[in-house]
């Protein structure tokens, strides 16, 4: 499989075989991700260009690189850089790609990662481009599902903002390649766009929609919760009503399958009550950890290092 020096921009760039290859690589590296150090990427440097706040993505890439024996260059605060002087992203990429072996980038404009790839002499890994793509989140979601549940014949419910949520669009795209049964749960004003649903069905996913979270809880393997932003609701009363209807508490879990797992890309706000955290179904903190082996896998792959 040819990955060396390839950019990681969108899940749509991957075939199912390629996704499986990355997940297999992450499985091999997971013991190392749990504690330890190797010299697989000794002498390699990863640049982190984050133009927007990030906790999990930035820190897990740093952890991944350090566990593999490599070094990390951080952009630091905007105020301390030439960004305040008006330097373009294109120029920044041209320069930083001469200092590093790969660049992870998060930028507020859609398409910024693809543009960066046009100017970079090293692989660009998209850590989020506005409302666009966030492929490493999708890969760690797939890894979590494969590890903690199963990807074949999967019944998954995805809950929340299905209209604007980039995580959800990327994830459903990837799951469609595995022929998953996808239940979309959202308030009417945040339903998944018709075009995306049609694409999912065309690729082999079975898709159904409901506004009622409780009615589907006993028939799924994975419950994937997402945050609904308050700004989407001009009327605060409407928001409060909706927030109650899409919140999961320990009481909801009485009749679910024993093996059912609950995921969330984090940060959560109200969607999952803290009473769920200690249940056998909660997997969102493990999911967050799996970002490390997945990012270790991607870094070794784009830097052309065999594991």
């Amino acid at each position: 499989m040819r990955f060396e020096r390839r950019h990681i921009i969108s899940m749509k760039d991957f075939t199912r075989d390629e996704m499986d290859y990355i997940l297999d690589r992450a499985t091999k590296l997971e013991p190392l991700a749990r504690g330890g150090r190797s010299d697989l990427l000794a002498g390699k440097i990863l640049a982190l260009l984050f133009y927007e706040p990030s906790t999990r993505t930035r820190m897990s890439f740093e952890t991944a690189m350090l566990r593999l024996g490599g070094g990390v260059l951080n952009l630091g605060s905007k105020e301390a850089t030439s960004i305040v002087k008006g330097e373009t992203l294109a120029d920044m990429i041209r320069v930083v790609s001469t200092y590093s072996d790969a660049i992870v980038q998060r930028h507020p404009s859609e398409g910024s990662a693809l543009m960066a790839a046009e100017f970079s002499s090293v692989p660009i890994i998209n850590g989020g481009d506005g409302a666009g793509h966030h492929p490493t989140q999708t890969l760690l979601d797939l890894y979590t599902i494969r590890k903690e549940s199963h990807l074949d014949n999967l019944d998954i419910a995805i809950v929340g903002d299905l209209k604007y949520g980039r995580t959800v669009h990327s994830l459903t795209y990837a799951l469609s390649l595995y022929g998953a049964n996808i239940t979309l749960v959202s308030p009417p004003q945040l339903k998944m766009p018709d075009q995306i649903k049609a694409d999912l069905k065309a690729r082999g996913a079975r898709v159904r929609e409901t506004e009622n979270l409780e009615e589907i809880l006993d028939s799924i393997d994975v419950l994937y919760m997402t945050r609904i932003q308050k700004e989407r609701f001009p009327d605060p009363t409407e928001y409060k009503k909706m927030a109650g209807a899409y919140k999961i508490t320990i009481e909801h879990l009485e009749n679910v399958r024993d093996s059912m797992i609950i995921m969330h890309p984090l940060p959560r706000v109200y969607e999952i009550d803290s009473s769920v955290d200690t249940s056998s179904h909660a997997r969102y903190f493990e999911q967050s950890f799996y970002g490390v082996p997945i990012r270790m896998a991607l870094l070794t792959i784009v830097m052309g290092v065999e594991v």
């Binding site: 373009t88 404009s109 859609e110 398409g111 693809l114 543009m115 481009d129 409302a131 075009q195």
Partner: protein
Amino acid sequence: MSAEKELRVRPIRDGTVIDRILAGQAMNVLKILGIKGAYSDVVTMAMNVPSKELGQKDIVKIENRELEEKELDKISLISPGATINIIRDFEVADKYQVELPEMVEGMVKCINPNCISNTKEPVISKFEVKKDPVQLRCIYCENIIMENIAEHLL
């Protein structure tokens, strides 16, 4: 009737006749050609001309001018069935239908204000073109333009 017809198709010595323009798009074709007001040569525009095949069509005739590829590509985006007649010395020297390109660069402004192509970055807008109906998909942010394409032409 025949006098009326003669007036509409009055022959020109040299220039271009853009025929079978989607009814209502003639003004946009003039905009594409940069003809906004004062112009040195004769320009004739006919709107809502009865047509057996199309019901109605628009026609634009420009004397002493042949169109550039970029202009033809832009016309194809707003009226994919338009035909171009190149007239030289009163004869039709060439006749063809405009052809939708697979990709257009630097011709269309993305509708997404948050797209990287709408920033100060040194990047030229690029769109993949789909036919029937014409759809433009921004390769950077993946937004699709389907309606009022003329309004987004650069």
